[in-house]
């Protein structure tokens, strides 16, 4: 969790954040309320989760919703940009592999 700003010195929201968890491809990952799902993954040390049609690995590229590199399925909804989606406790994330037939 060293990758995130200590809440005591956070100028925007100096409140102690509540923990949450999400499930990514069946693995439980701890995060904090207020993080995007991409933020939870990055803080966990995961930097790539999608596979392109060319077989290359992708994670956050732009981080602001423009590039669509960080998409994954969230609670059954496909092609969600994880950089824009606020993590909710109990979210189920399924990574997408575009070398396989699209659903």
């Amino acid at each position: 969790m060293s990758a995130i700003v200590p809440w005591e010195t956070d100028p925007i929201r100096p409140d102690e954040p509540k923990p949450l968890h999400i499930t990514v491809d069946g693995t439980r990952i701890e995060g904090l309320q207020g993080q995007s799902i991409a933020g939870v993954l990055l803080a966990h040390g995961t930097t790539e989760w999608r596979t392109t049609t060319a077989g290359r690995r992708r994670g956050v590229f732009c981080g602001i919703g423009v590039c669509f590199d960080c998409i994954a399925a969230v609670n059954g909804e496909s092609d969600v940009r994880l950089c824009l989606r606020r993590a909710n406790d109990g979210d189920t994330v399924t990574t997408q592999d575009d070398t396989k037939e699209a659903p």
């Binding site: 049609t53 669509f68 998409i71 909804e77 496909s78 092609d79 969600v80 575009d98 037939e101 699209a102 659903p103």
Partner: protein
Amino acid sequence: MNADVVVIGAGIVGAACARALARTGLRVVVVDRGAPASATSARGEGNLLVSDKAPGPELDLAMLAARHWPGLAASLADELGPGFPDIEYDPKGGVVVATTEEGAEPLRAFADGQAAAGVEVAHLTAREALSLEPHLNPAITAAVHYPQDAQLQPVVATEALLASARRAGVTVLPHQEVVGVVREGDRITGVRTATETISAPSVVVAAGPWSGTVAGVLGADLPVRPRRGMVLVTARMAQRVFHKVYDGDYFGATQSADADLQTSSVVESTPGGTVLIGSSRQQIGFDDRLRVHVLAEIAKRALRLFPFLAGTPVIRAYGGFRPYVPDHLPVVGPDPRHPGLWYATGHEGAGIGLAGVTGDLLCAQLTGTAPAIDPAPFQPSRPSLAAHLTGGAA
């Protein structure tokens, strides 16, 4: 710099003109103010359509193009080899449907008129339409299959034509805006860019929706105006749309002179797995701001054709400008008031499909050989264009 012909515009029409001219042995220079294939050629869906054209000269040109593309696609692939990206030429056919009772009879009558002009047309029952497009809304009132409609990837196709043109000796000068003209008396003998003067006895304006502006820089007058369009792109999915499918209102929108927003639904898959959802037509100059209400209207109409799209993520929207001409015909030929000046432009939404035959038609006129189709209806001097020129008829 000297050349036999300067082509202004490195979009698909300029590329096809340059390639055709160079293959007759002429020295050709292509100039573009931006990168090749970066404007209108990159902002459409890659349509090669006969289905949306009423009997007349444009349909004749489109039918010639439909016969011409398979050979052109094959010869480009053969010449450029497997290292060059595929232009994704796909003669997938079109399915045009009516979604209202009032729309059914006009669609059938329109198709019968096209059939009389030689277009391959098959009237479909709702059941037959659903066998071609299983995810189509079953509540359609009429449907027509057009097997001659096709699609390709327009940016790759433009680059392929330019690559082939370079092999034939063409020089392409990107990021060189034409800022002036060279004249000897009445005759245009070249163009100036910020850094170059290119002398050439023939200058071809193939600048798409900017052709009117470019003609103005050259001291000429051409009534080409921009007509904006927007397209939505879905996330990748398993293929559920198999033809180019559109509602019968599309033809009315293409032929209208109305400047206000018009939308009609055009839906098709791409080999990348996305679905492209169009279309809109709006005359708002070169205003390229994103218009959310236009996208909303396009999306709403698409759901009438394919209800399953309601749950599909849209990942992107893009827009561009079509080269609109008031009498709805391309302009391919010499400007009689400015010897040395030629046009290949004004195809509105049909420029991708008509590019190859336009290049050949321009080339035949410029080199004095027999064209494959009568060039008279496409002349800049045609009567239907005269009223739109300053100073009246030539």
